[in-house]
Amino acid sequence: MKKRRPKSLVLFGNGINCEYETAHAHRVAGFDPELLHINLLLKKPEKINEYTFITLPGGFLDGDDLGAAKAQAIKWKYYIISDSGRTFIDELVDFVARGNIILGVCNGFQLLVKTGLLPGIGGIYGKQSVTLTFNDSGKFEDRWVYLKVNKFSHCIFTQNIDTIYLPVRHGEGKFMMNGLETATALKQGYTVMQYAYESGDIASEYPYNPNGSVESIAGICDVTGRIFGLMPHPEAFVHHTQHPQWTRKKLPREGDGLKIFKNAFRYVRENL
């Protein structure tokens, strides 16, 4: 008997704008994705219990008007869900504690960082300890970058991936951190991927490191490896014709980005 596809959640609304291709990537990887408006979810946070995998897609939440994803992060941190005395962050922490997984891409990554869900060092969430801010170039840019995956990372989304090629499309993607504890943790498994040259060597110079990120960090995870955020867009490279040079190269039909969603699928299948 064919197994039912696991239900996954893709948020949209309030300026999120990659929900369509993100849901497509979910589907191709094996999930049965549902699109839900961010406001409706905040009204009924218990809805997340219907899913095992949540993606916070890219976009411009609230126009990034107070800094990338900032306005929404404040709502998630301070808005008390009726009567329960809990915030939406509390709900998400519980969601992950139950073994479920969360992916934040670009604006979704910025949201995870500014709500303090990432890096969540030592399992402490809710206080911002790293940030994503203006690219050193001072510009929003759409360009493709090579990424090297940290093979020592415990992130469940990047298992068996070495290097991948994906687009970045942001103006505020420069990764910065504070404090020794954070730096040490990131030196270990919290760093998931770094900007690199085509060879796979870590790159610190522009445009290979497109935003001036410290340690060329492009993506990080939390202590469990089940919350993962990255600036590049894995959902933008699912099909070979999305590659900027597909007319020059012989490429497999499946794009590099799909691997991340397939890892999520495998994890859910095997563990949940």
Partner: protein, 995 residues
């Protein structure tokens, strides 16, 4: 009490916006600044509790890692001068709105209507700067004094005063809104005076027709019953002026024209009907069952079939005058405004891509800039950023576009913004390309609130720009409010919650309700129910306001509550303003009293037709021919550096061109992702293989010779780019966008007859070539007054037509890009080169016109395009690039550095006619030509397809980067490296924009 919160970078943190400004101040003004620091300021005009202020200070406004906030005390001065730039009252403040929403969600206390958050920006500048330097920087870069206020202080002053001080740009209108009436028995002179004062832009003839209407006995009687006197109200006059404006009615395109050419006279009854509608009708008839058009020229965008399940709606608009006055706001509004066109077409379409074409004067322009105008570089930066924010924040990929430069655009930049949408062919069993409001349907306005912004946009864009142009015509778009609205309305569409939809653009509610009311034959509209940004708007202002982000929908009575409920959930403002009726009247009330009562028939059909004269004359530019260059390599490098040829990567990269995931061919392509694609390709349904190929053609430089050839070349270029990338003629549709300098003769416009003749010639070419290629125009727009007049200065744009092309292909297998793919491939030129240097980049390099512009030899061109289509489907075409600005030479360079392969070619085998000099052959801009590369083994197949077409195998691609061109006599005329060609091509933007 109001609070002021200032947010500054922490010490030791890189101030990115500050660093960027420092560089720009140096490149733009040559002023050396030691350091610039940027401080964001939030002025909260509301009493707040300490706990809330603490959260705002510690967590909300600053990024706690890198910034620090100062509440009700000034940020420490880090320079010698401080400049603060704030919005003037009533200007859209998007960040302020978001800040307000956040504070509301924190404090759980809604803001009262007179409370708000205002944002401003403070700049600390360090270095030995004079007061004049500060003013130059403030006015030349930081503030647009039309919509912003700036103040500056020296360090000592700043510290003595305790900072910049509080400024609350609240709109305060103390007058009670009144409705004025205008007696019509005052004589024409007095009427014309009021007409001018109120920017109605009505002609004397039109005023007479209006007078006659209001003097009709039956009209007087009906108005009496409705509670109105015999004189029209301001609401009525404004509604008529807007409905009858050039912008809305296209009077010139619909005029009866007496046309004279070479002594022969003829009468043209509407250019629009004769040539534009006429050509499309003929093409559709010829196509018969293969016609793919579904809705042309009647809705906000044209609709064609895409695949079994979906249709496409495509539209391009201009937003020139607002972009001249405020480049950022004008362009932002341009893009989010055109988004609403396909969105409000048929039952509504999901937006899948944007295109943009900008025309500016040269960024390195060194002359003076007349009053009210900005330096072209500032215009470019503002427009670029406006479209960046509008497009990126809306989540719509910008997949195609270009930048065109000509000194004539100093007076008015052209900002063409286009958007395509996709809609299911049927929803709930009903076709989506039609819509109809029903009698009794509620009129619901959805989206933003109404303010004074954009009042008189429709009538004002129907006049030339001058120093006294009204500032209210400037608006700032708000992409997030619009995104929320479109997210909501697409859900409402799929749930069948409305019967009809249209956007509020030019003319605001007057236009949207007026147009929809034609479905039922009338409407009742209550203006006092409309949500306002601030109090004090007169009824006519509410009716005419072009405040952005609003759609009008017709909702059946039984679905109103469902509609409003969903709207609230998705944080979108929707308000019932009235209903559609069959009374035959456009009936408007304010606080229960009738303020306008106009016959629908008169409003929409009462406008008298215009009669105009046009006289064609040929223009020959007497000049010496250009000498053959001694150093061809230098010439080629100079051409690659020309603004119209060089890389536009600086602009392109700042636009998201792949959101939504459908990207197939990106604007930049090739080995290093930096070669210029000829067209954009996307696959809008990720589950389906069908794709859309999007391209354009624009050739204003040929207008100085003959607008007939200008349009012919634009059409050919649009089609050529499309075909080069894998598009098809069989399912290709075009859009025409005319931007003209005033073609109506008057004392102050003595060239009117000639300019109208140019318009006639342009339309004839449009008819001739669209019918020849079988590519119908499905929608378009015209903008007729692109002149700047001040005292003795008159600057007119070159007559410009943008042709946009979309074609639908079954799958992406046939897609070709412009970069050479391998070494040892044959390089082939397809199409004949003629001595056609008129308007060419080569001639412009020497400041000459050249007299012979390229002509389109339509039949041959069509054969070439058909063969090319056939060839791409076989897969033998490894690369294909269209030959345009800079001719064969620049085209070869682009394909070579795009692919990372050098070339070895000889001009001796290029197909040509009457050319005896290498420079003419290399740089002529003859139309309908391509450079392709194929594998050597595929030559027999190539030959069998192209046997009846002029082509020449001119050489091969090399393993290394050497770029060698031999002349017709087989002597080497160019021997260089592709790296040097690439450097030259990328130089201008790198040099002038710190790219």
């Amino acid at each position: 009490m109001a609070h002021r919160i200032e947010v500054a970078c922490k010490d030791g943190v890189r101030d990115v916006p500050g660093k960027k400004l420092k560089k720009r101040i140096k490149t733009d003004f040559g002023i050396d600044v030691e350091a610039v620091h940027v401080v964001d300021v939030y002025t909260i005009d509301k009493e707040l509790k300490k706990e809330i202020l603490d959260v705002l200070q510690n967590d909300t406004f600053p990024d706690p890692l890198i910034q620090k906030a100062f509440v009700d005390r000034p940020a420490p001065m880090k320079g010698d001068w401080a400049i603060e730039v704030s919005f003037k009252p009533g200007v859209t403040d998007n960040v302020g709105r978001t800040a307000k929403e956040v504070i509301e969600s924190l404090s759980l206390q809604p803001f009262r209507e007179d409370e708000a958050v205002y944002t401003s920006r403070m700049y600390f500048l360090k270095g030995g700067l004079t007061e004049q330097n500060i003013i130059t920087i403030a006015e030349g870069m930081l503030a647009n004094t039309l919509i912003q206020r700036y103040i500056y202080k020296r360090k000592e002053e700043y510290e003595q005063d305790g900072g910049m001080g509080m400024y609350i740009p609240k709109v305060e209108i103390s007058e009670e809104p009144v409705v004025e009436t205008f007696p019509l028995n005052t004589g024409l002179e007095e009427m014309m005076k009021i007409n001018r004062e109120r920017t109605w832009a009505l002609s004397p003839e039109e005023l007479m027709v209006i007078q006659k209407y209001f003097l009709r006995k039956d009209v007087i009687k009906r108005r009496e019953k409705a509670g109105l006197g015999p004189s029209p109200t301001d609401v009525e006059m404004e509604a008529i002026a807007q409905t009858w404006s050039e912008h809305c009615k296209h009077k010139i395109f619909n005029a009866i024209i007496e046309y004279e050419e070479d002594g022969k006279k003829e009468r043209i009854d509407s250019l629009f009907k004769t040539y534009i509608v006429g050509s499309t009708e003929r093409i559709r008839k010829n196509k018969g069952k293969k016609d793919f058009c579904l809705s042309v020229f009647k809705d906000n965008a044209g609709i064609i079939r895409f695949n079994k399940g979906y249709n496409l709606a495509f539209k391009v608009e201009t937003h020139n005058t607002p972009s001249a006055l405020d480049p950022y706001g004008g362009a932002l509004t341009g893009i989010v405004g055109v988004n609403r066109d396909p969105f409000g077409t048929g039952k509504g379409a999901k937006l899948i891509f944007n295109t943009d074409v900008f025309c500016f004067a040269y960024p390195d322009y060194k002359g003076g800039v007349p009053p009210r105008l900005f330096h072209p570089k500032r215009v470019l930066e503002g427009v670029r950023e406006g479209v960046e924010h509008g497009g990126n924040k809306s989540g719509i990929p910008t997949i195609n576009g270009s930048l065109v430069f000509d000194e004539g655009y100093l007076g008015k930049p052209l900002v063409y913004c286009g958007t395509c949408g996709i809609m299911p062919r049927k929803i709930h069993g009903k076709p989506t390309h039609t819509k109809q409001a029903k009698v009794g349907d509620a009129i619901i306005m959805v989206g933003g609130r109404i303010g004074k912004d954009g009042i008189h946009g429709a009538t004002f864009s129907s006049e030339e720009l001058s120093e006294v142009s009204p500032t209210s015509a400037v608006q700032i778009g708000d992409p997030i409010t619009q995104k929320r609205m479109t997210d909501f309305l697409l859900l409402a569409r799929d749930r069948n919650l409305y019967n009809s939809i249209t956007d509020n653009g030019a003319g605001g509610l007057s236009s949207s309700v007026g147009e929809m009311a034609q479905d039922t034959g009338g409407s009742i509209l209550h203006l006092d129910r409309a949500p306002l940004k601030y109090q004090g708007l007169s009824p006519w202002e509410i009716l005419l306001s072009e405040a952005q982000e609003r759609m009008t929908v017709a909702v059946s009575k039984d679905k109103v509550s469902q509609f409003l409920e969903l709207s609230e959930k998705m944080q979108v403002l929707s308000t019932v303003l009235g209903e559609f009726t069959d009374s035959g009247m456009f009936h408007i009330l304010y606080k229960g009293k009738t303020v306008a009562y106009l016959d629908m028939d008169f409003l929409h059909k009462g406008l008298p037709g215009m009669r105009l004269k046009a006289k064609w004359e040929r223009h020959i530019h007497d000049e010496k021919p250009v000498e053959e260059p001694e150093n061809y390599t230098e010439t080629l490098l100079s051409l690659l550096k020309r603004w119209n040829v060089c890389s536009k990567e600086y602009v392109v990269r700042q636009y998201d061109h792949e959101v939504q995931g459908g990207s197939v061919v990106k604007p930049l392509t090739g080995k290093l992702n930096n070669g210029p694609s000829d067209a954009g390709v996307i696959r809008p349904c990720l589950e389906n293989p069908e794709a859309v190929v999007v391209s354009h053609g624009i050739c204003p430089k040929y207008s100085r010779f003959d607008t007939y050839h200008m349009v012919a070349c634009a059409i050919d270029e649009a089609i050529r780019n499309n075909i080069a990338t894998g598009g098809t003629l069989k399912r290709m549709a075009l859009l025409d966008n005319f931007c003209w300098s005033d073609p109506v003769f008057s004392e102050k416009n003595p060239e009117g007859y000639y300019k109208l003749a140019q318009l006639v010639r342009a339309n004839r070419a449009l008819f001739d070539f669209t019918t020849l290629f079988g590519t119908p125009c499905i929608s378009g727009k015209d903008s007729m007054k692109n002149d700047y007049i001040f005292n003795e200065i008159k600057i007119s744009i070159p007559q410009t037509v943008l042709i946009s092309a979309i074609s639908v292909i079954k799958n992406t297998d046939r897609i070709v890009t412009m970069d050479f793919k391998e070494h040892s491939n044959f390089i082939i030129v397809i199409g004949t080169t003629y001595p056609e240097l008129g308007g060419s980049e080569y001639m412009s390099l020497y400041g000459r016109h050249g007299n012979i512009p390229p002509k389109v030899r339509g039949r041959v061109a069509k054969d070439i395009y058909r063969c090319m289509e056939k060839a791409v489907t076989t897969g033998i075409i490894r690369s294909c690039h269209d030959i345009s600005d800079g001719g064969l030479g620049c085209c070869l360079a682009e394909s070579a550095f795009g692919g990372g392969y050098g070339i070895d070619i000889s001009l001796s085998s290029v197909p040509k006619l009457s050319i005896f000099r290498d420079d003419i052959l290399l740089f002529s801009e003859s139309q309908s030509r391509f450079i392709v590369s194929i594998r050597k083994k595929d030559l027999p197949q190539f030959t069998s397809i192209f046997h009846a077409i002029p082509y020449g195998i001119i050489g091969t691609t090399r393993k290394d980067g050497r770029f060698i061109i031999k002349g017709m006599n087989n002597n080497v005329i160019i021997d260089t490296e592709i790296g040097l060609l690439l450097d030259a091509w990328q130089a201008p933007f790198k040099e002038h924009f710190n790219a």
